[in-house]
């Protein structure tokens, strides 16, 4: 009996081993007839339904030739899935990745250069058709790893009715912003003690706001070696420009959680709200009468040459390490899809994103969208510095920004030192 049990147990182990190891996927390599493409993304919000619509449109126009099968996962699990499944050769044919991760994934070898794809497919994808800085940021060691779909950023949403009520014009710089917020806050507080001029959550999207402030005060995220560079006078000024709005100007209550500020704005309890372009549709649905202005020159404490800069990130098409030999027809199908979505990204723009494709932005459909121009001038867009270890070097500052926003008596130098110390340990580990 014991023997039987042992054999049984051994069998179970072997079975699970086989199941977990996951063999090779034996896809047919003869590519005749319709080609099925697996396409992954992390677009699950309001923007996700627009992507579904685009994919359906593509499939309808390519019936019998190409069929795109989309799989979407929420962002938290998305990169976990990529990390686990692509090395097991269970990745897709094409997927979306955030621009600031492209260098790091290129460095690990999980995604592959795609110039060969473009060349062999003959599909017309060239840098001059895209926002130049965004396109150029997708090179790693002189090879192109991504084709940008969009850029997204944060803007300052304002309540039009309230500005009109106090006969104020739309602010164009920091002084005007603070002045307008103060005027309306003082006026409204008489009848509503819960009203605030510019409520700011200390948790999110504070990393965007700090980055805008860092750029506008002439600071850098990382230096040429990829080491942290925000521990500088500019970094201290950047922190101060953000936290002063709460601690000095008194335009926001302390310790707001994620989206508490959004909720206040959508219920008319705030004049201004700093939020991502990806939330645009949520604002429209809330029924509030709003407009959008760029964050340009809202955070510089002194006159700087970079005072108008706006941090942006991009959703980018990348191609994971392939599971089987990719035929020329399949490469062509992938690039046809990438090109198609890029050219039609004026549809994608209805979700709040700004198309990276110049072709899509030139369409009358895009030009007719009412809010997109409010996020700022393209020439002021600045994409994060490029390094395969950007995340390790820069992300430790995020929790320190939160700490400074929650504590009136914070010590900027101590916080920046702590962030750099953690970043250096993370970098040391990543570079091993």
């Amino acid at each position: 009996m014991k023997k039987i049990m042992y054999i049984l147990l051994a069998l179970i182990f072997m079975l699970t081993l086989v199941a977990c190891r996951g063999g090779q996927t034996n896809e047919p390599t003869d590519e005749v007839g319709k080609i099925s493409l697996k396409y992954w993304n992390s677009l699950t919000g309001a923007d996700g339904s627009v992507m579904r619509q685009l994919v359906a449109q593509f499939n309808a126009e390519h019936t019998g030739e190409i069929e795109v099968i989309e799989t979407f996962t929420n962002e938290v699990d998305y990169y976990t899935n990529i990390n686990l499944l692509v090395p097991m050769k269970k990745g897709p044919d094409v997927m979306i990745m955030h621009s600031y991760l492209v260098q790091s994934y290129a460095n690990t070898g999980l995604i592959i250069p795609l110039e060969d794809y473009i060349e062999s497919s003959g599909v017309d994808i060239k840098s001059s058709d895209y926002i130049t800085d965004i396109f150029n940021s997708l090179y790693f060691e002189n090879e192109l790893y991504g084709v940008p779909l969009d850029v997204h950023t944060v803007g300052i949403y304002y309540n039009k009715d309230l500005l009109n009520k106090y006969s104020l014009s739309v602010p164009t710089n920091r002084q005007e912003l603070i002045q307008a917020a103060k005027t309306v806050q003082t006026g409204e507080k008489v009848t509503n003690s819960q009203f605030w001029g510019l409520p700011l959550s200390s948790v999110w999207p504070s990393e965007w706001i700090f980055t805008a402030s860092l750029y506008q005060n002439n600071g850098l995220e990382i230096d040429a070696n990829g080491d942290p560079a925000y521990n500088s006078p500019a970094g201290i000024a950047a922190l101060q420009a953000v936290t002063d709005l709460i601690h000095v100007e008194g335009l926001s209550p302390l310790n707001l959680g994620v989206d508490q500020d959004l909720f206040m704005f959508q219920t008319g309890k705030a004049l201004f709200h700093i939020q991502g372009s990806w939330m645009l549709n949520s604002m429209v649905e809330s029924g509030i009468n709003f407009g959008v202005i760029p964050v340009s020159s809202m955070f510089n404490l002194t006159e700087t040459t970079t005072k108008n800069q706006i941090p942006v990130r991009s959703h980018t098409f990348v191609i994971p390490k392939a599971s089987v030999e990719v035929t020329a027809r399949r490469q062509e199908a992938v690039m046809t899809f990438v090109k198609y979505v890029g050219d039609h990204s004026y549809i994608w723009a209805t979700a709040g994103q700004i198309p990276a494709s110049n072709i899509a932005r030139a369409t009358s459909e895009y030009q007719a969208l009412p809010y997109h121009a409010g996020f700022g001038n393209l020439s002021n867009f600045r994409i994060s510095a490029q390094s395969p270890y950007f995340h390790q070097a820069y992300s430790p500052i995020y929790s320190r920004v939160t700490a400074a926003m929650s504590n009136r008596n914070y010590n900027a130098q101590l916080l920046l030192n702590a962030a750099v110390e953690e970043a250096m340990l993370l970098l040391q580990e990543a570079r091993r």
Binding site: M1, P87, L101, L110, P253, N255, G257, S406
Partner: protein
């Protein structure tokens, strides 16, 4: 020798015949238990001894106990810092939550055991939070704890007091987490202890009252020793559950302020699967925590058993 072996074999055959149906019923469970427990457990132990490379499986190397050395002793490394600060925060939670998680259910169980009018209603109400999922529990409590609009703070303001930043400053963040945990999990311990109280021989209480013992004395000398078996279970399961704390700080405080509520599980998970994954280090941390939990459980069992015997 030959005969005894032969007898043994025959005996085995008989046992198998008699219990064949029992084994058949056990088999599905055994399969699931192997697939979802035994296999991952052993696989985890194996991973902790490797420099596990997610991106290039072929580069995975055996490195013995080097992962353990790095998290325990390599004091200038990031993993050392993650491990010890995470473990410290987990221990803070265990030390401050377990006494309440045992004492409060004990008091409630004793009160309900007196069977006052409507005790069944109270028992149901007190048990109810246990069936909720962690996400709904946190949703309910976040709206109590929020500054600027949260229920408790709105009440404080109405009373002319200052707001308390429950979720973003210490020690309030820990207090919030522990309060939520007590509310959420006290039901189970209450039921176990309540069942224990029911089983105590009533004649012991009568004897005590004849001897002139008051309530406190009865509780100390009759109730507590009789409850030892239930206490053992409650103490061990509560300590183990507290070590595994994850959902409350992750959802309520997000590990803040300044990582002071980032417990060890919150360090292990992203290390196992996240963007900067290092499964070898993550499993080494988990195994270290497991060893600590086993040691503490054994010590606890020893102490409580000795007390129960005395």
């Amino acid at each position: 020798m030959q005969i005894s072996l032969d007898m043994k074999r025959r005996r085995m055959k008989r046992i198998v015949k008699e219990h064949a149906s029992a084994y058949a019923f056990l088999l599905p469970y055994l399969v699931l238990f192997s697939v979802f427990f035994i296999f991952p457990f052993i696989y985890g132990l194996v991973i902790s001894l490797f420099n596990w490379n997610l991106f290039f499986p072929e580069e995975t190397r055996f490195i013995g106990f080097d992962n353990f050395r790095r998290i325990w002793f390599e004091s200038d490394g990031i993993y050392y810092r993650y491990f010890w600060s995470g473990l410290k925060n987990t221990l803070i939670f265990v030390i401050f939550s377990v006494p309440f998680l045992v004492m409060i259910p004990l008091i409630l169980a004793a009160l309900i055991d007196m069977e006052p009018k409507g005790y069944k209603v109270f028992r149901t109400i007190l048990f109810m939070p246990t069936v909720l999922s962690i996400s709904s529990v946190i949703l309910i409590w976040k709206w109590q704890f929020y500054t600027n609009g949260g229920f408790i703070n709105a009440l404080l303001l109405k009373l002319g007091l200052n707001e308390i930043p429950f979720l973003v400053s210490q020690p309030w963040a820990w207090i919030s987490i522990i309060v939520v945990t007590i509310w959420w999990t006290m039901g189970t311990n209450m039921v176990i202890l309540g069942a224990g109280l029911k089983n105590i021989d009533r004649s012991l209480y009568e004897a005590a009252s004849i001897d002139g013992a008051n309530y406190i004395q009865t509780f100390r000398y009759i109730t507590m020793p009789s409850l030892a078996p239930q206490m053992l279970i409650v103490m061990i399961t509560t300590v183990l559950a507290s070590f595994g704390v994850y959902g409350q700080p992750d959802l309520l405080t997000n590990g803040g302020p300044d990582f002071s509520t980032t417990v060890l599980m919150m360090r292990i998970r992203p290390l196992a699967l996240g963007t900067n994954a290092n499964p070898g280090i993550a499993t080494a941390m988990a195994v270290s925590m497991g060893i600590l939990m086993v040691v503490i459980s054994i010590v606890q069992a020893k102490i409580i058993k000795r007390r129960g015997d005395a």
